[in-house]
Structures are given as structure tokens and as C-alpha cells.
Amino acid sequence: MPEIYMNDWPPFAPDDQNRREATLVAVKLMANAAQTAPNAGGVSQIEASIVYGYREQEQIARKMEEIGNTRYADTLLGRRFLYEAVMVRESDAVLLLGNFRAKDTPMDAKCGACGGRRDCSFLYSRREAPSGLIDPTRRQHETLIDGPLCGVRCQDFGYAIGSALWMANRLLVDARAYMTVGVAALELGYLRDSCICVGVLAASLAKNPYVDVNTDYHVINLGRLVDGVRKHYALGRQAGGDYRFSDPGLQAARARRREKRSDPQDDGTP
């Protein structure tokens, strides 16, 4: 029988890859769950992309750090971008979910969500829309998201995210949804048909990476701590002598044994 061995350390080693690949299966099921979520009129409107791998996740994390340190510098939201970038790195995989109808093909249900009127005028009057058909080629926008968006479609988008999270919950995979991840992914060109995107991070680790977050998380986190140990250890060992001729550790061990033999309380029982 071939053996599949799993161990989360060291990260990205083959044994850890076995673990990550199992999470990847769960994330694929989460993507499917998003597609089966309730929606108004049974209309297909959700696209999904799974980002998996060190380099791919690092790219999203860096874009989040760029946004956090520029457009939202020194704000609580800026910090969220920075902290959640760490979570992207710590995740086994990232599920990107987007809605490709909320901007270009609204539900036209006259529900009032977009503008508080019993019609869709708020949304349509802010778009180029000859004959009520929104021009999809108008993509330029200055804000993170090109609003206004259709409320019914966004409600459906929420259902999709909820179903993906529910599937993760059933599979005992830690997962949470993030606006910050989605915004960065859109700017990187993922889910190019979608006007709004949310990143669902997923991991199967001993410690849920999305909760119990310490302050300054962007500089104090497991990755940085491990790196700190490596940095200091290499410096500290340089004070050592020539282990081939003398070893202070050996001398200390012998001294401990001598002391133990002379201890009257010690009857030799282990």
C-alpha cells in the first residue's frame, strides 16, 4: 500500500503538500457550493478562481500590502489589508468568488436597494446605458469597486459566499471571507468579468490562522518569528570553539553525572 504521510512542517515540503492538497479538494467543493447557493431567478452570476501555491499567494499578499500602505495608510482598514496579507500567506489555498452581473446586467427588479426608489433609476442614471443596456466597456473607475451595483445581485453574491463558508464548516476546514483579498485579486486581474470579488481563505492547520491575531501582525507573525530564530541562531553560534578538541557541553554533562552519583537521596531509580 502506498503511504500518504502528512505533516505541516516544514511548510511546502512534500509531506505538507499532501495536507495542502486535501484542503484544495475542500476548496473545490466550496467553489461548487457557491454555485448552488440560492439566487434570484436561478441566474448564473458567480465565477470562481482558486489560487494555490507559494508564489501565487505571495503575489496577492503583496498587492494587499501595497494597497494597505498607500491608499489606506495609517488607517484601521490599512492595517486590515496588512494583517490579512499575512493570512493569505498562511492559508493553504485562496478561493476567489466574484459576481459578474452586479454592474453590467442588474436584476431590474425595481426593489429599491440601490437608490431607495421604487425603480432602478439610481443605478442606470450613473451608467452609460443606451436602451437600458449598460455599456460593459466602461471599466475605468477611481474607487476600489466600480459602483453602484445591483442590490439583488449583491444579495445573491452574499448567498454564494455563505454557501462556500458553510461547506468549509461542514468539512472542518478553517475559512473566512475577506474584502481585502478580493479587492487585491481584482486589481491583479483575477476574475476579470466580475465587478466585485471576495477572497475566501482556507486552511487545515492546528491553529486557525484567521482568529486570535496579535497586534502588529504584519511584522510579528509565525513567518517572521521563524526567520528571527534563523537570523539570531546563525549569529550566536559563531562564538563557538573547535568542537573536535573540546566541548563545554560534554564537560557539563559529566559534571551532572558526578553530582548525581554523589547524591545520597538518589537511589538510582530512574
Binding site: 484601521l76 431607495g116 450613473r126 473607475h141 474607487t143 476600489l144 459566499i161 455563505g162 466585485i196
Partner: protein, 288 residues
């Protein structure tokens, strides 16, 4: 030892499922972490005004009437579902994301606009809405549905029932309310609806198809007269699509009647509530 009627118990315990669904909605992970859900459970006779409101709203939006017919079919079988109402406030943003999803460059500008707009009576959603708050609200609704699904209880998340319930006074402070009917305990009730099957005769079906998908029935348009095939011997009586403006004033009387009828139902519910302590106290033990 007593022997229990499991069919009867299955329906009686739908109330417990509604509670599980509410617990699930409250547990749903949120992106903003700031959406506070407001929920109520309606059963038995308390549902009557909601069903009545569905017929009234059905005059302006047909899907309300479809929902009513589905409720009524369950009632006729003596297997009334339990209704979980889920509402939230989404009309203001305290997020400060300034993301633009609502159409404004900042949350402050959105809030200013929101304060300036008074939602008209009997509007489905009291917009404008903060998109991220709405997404979290929807995620919670989804977890309620998923919990029902997990317990194998047929259900359907509906704006119709939530809207009707809000119009007669339940969760009326919420900007958006959805209803989650739970049960009856059967395979399908809220999908492949037998109530609708009975209403939809072949000619009505076909008429809707012609109206919704006219190109499907179109003939060769090269002669400059795009005929529609609306009968088997279509060449004998070709039809065509006529586009005409809808005179909105003809609906004014309908809108006025909807407003006054909803108001009357609302007053009645208020009156019942005054007699029983608070609205929705049909069993004398519910909380509000």
C-alpha cells in the same frame, strides 16, 4: 410506553428547526463583523396577515402571489410551514471602507445621500444599501437556509414573504427583511410547486414564453416583417411583437389600493397585538 405520531411530531417540531436556523444565521461568518441581525419566528394564525399582504403585493409584483399560492397550498393540506424572518439595517455605513461599491466615493457621501432619501411606502428594500453590509446579511440568510437543508427541511429564502411581513408590522424597523418558510415536511413544496402547476394552464405558459423569449419563435426576418410562430399552423396567422409604452397612470389606482389595503392589515395586526400584549404572541410565549 406511549406511541407517538411521527408525522404529526415532524410538523410540530418545525419550530425547533426555525430556532436552529436562527442560531445558524447568528453564527455565520461576517466580512464586516458589524451586521446585527433581527429575527422573528411566526407560526399558525400569526401568518394569516402575512399571507393576506402577499395577495395585496401580488397586484404589483406577481411573484408575491406565487408565494401566497404556495403558502395556501400547505395550509389547505393542514401542514402550515413555520416562518423565520431575518432582517437587518443596511442603510447606513460605519465601515469607512470608501470602496465605491454603493456608487459614492466615500461612506460619508453615501450616508449623506441615504439620509436625504425617504423610502416610499411598500418598497421591497429600503435602499440605498451598503453593499458589504448587504453581503454579510445575505451570508447569514444563506446559513439559515443551509441549516434547514442540513435538517432535510424543505425551504426557500424569499424576499416576498419577508417584504409582506414587514409591511404588516413584523421587523418593520429593518431596511431589508427576508422570510424563510420551513416545511411542510415533504420532498418538494417550495420548488416544483404544485400550487403553481394548478394555476398555470398551457395557454398561460405559452403566452409567457412568447412574451419572454420572442426571438425563439421568430421566423426569417429578411422580408422585413419578423413574424412570430405562436401556433402550430403559424403560417396561417402570423403574429408580431408590438412595442408600446405602458401608461403608468393606469396603475395609480392599483398602487393606491395596495397602500390602503396594507395599511388596513397593519392596523389589524396592531390591534391584535394590543389585545395580546405584543405582535406575534399567538402562543402567548413568544418573544418580541
Amino acid at each position: 410506553m406511549p406511541v407517538y405520531d411521527a408525522n404529526l411530531l415532524a410538523h410540530e417540531k418545525l419550530f425547533d428547526i426555525a430556532v436552529f436556523c436562527a442560531q445558524s444565521a447568528l453564527k455565520a461568518p461576517q466580512i464586516t463583523g458589524k451586521v446585527e441581525l433581527k429575527m422573528q419566528i411566526l407560526t399558525g394564525e400569526d401568518l394569516n396577515p402575512v399571507l393576506e399582504a402577499l395577495t395585496v403585493l401580488g397586484r404589483i409584483d406577481m411573484f408575491n402571489f406565487l408565494s401566497f399560492a404556495t403558502w395556501q397550498s400547505a395550509a389547505a393540506q393542514g401542514r402550515m410551514p413555520v416562518l423565520l424572518l431575518i432582517g437587518a439595517d443596511v442603510r447606513q455605513s460605519d465601515l469607512n471602507y470608501n470602496c465605491g461599491a454603493c456608487g459614492f466615493p466615500t461612506c460619508a457621501a453615501f450616508n449623506q445621500y441615504s439620509r436625504s432619501v425617504k423610502p416610499p411606502p411598500y418598497i421591497m428594500v429600503k435602499g440605498p444599501v451598503c453593499i458589504w453590509r448587504l453581503i454579510d446579511y445575505a451570508g447569514a440568510c444563506d446559513w439559515a437556509c443551509a441549516a434547514a437543508w442540513q435538517y432535510n427541511i424543505t425551504n426557500r429564502i424569499e424576499i416576498a414573504t419577508g417584504w409582506a411581513a414587514r409591511e404588516v408590522g413584523y421587523l418593520d424597523e429593518c431596511d431589508v427583511v427576508h422570510g424563510l418558510p420551513l416545511g411542510p415536511c415533504t420532498d418538494l413544496h417550495w420548488y416544483s410547486r404544485d400550487a403553481v402547476t394548478a394555476m398555470m394552464e398551457y395557454d398561460i405558459w405559452l403566452g409567457r414564453m412568447h412574451q419572454n423569449y420572442p426571438t425563439l419563435f421568430g421566423t426569417f426576418p429578411g422580408e422585413g416583417r419578423p413574424d412570430l410562430k405562436i401556433r402550430p399552423d403559424w403560417w396561417t396567422q402570423p403574429a408580431e411583437v408590438e412595442i408600446k409604452q405602458i401608461p403608468l397612470e393606469q396603475f395609480e389606482a392599483t398602487y393606491a389600493s395596495v397602500e390602503s389595503d396594507l395599511k388596513a392589515i397593519r392596523e389589524r395586526v396592531k390591534g391584535l397585538a394590543a389585545g395580546q400584549g405584543k405582535p406575534g404572541s399567538g402562543k402567548g410565549e413568544k418573544v418580541l
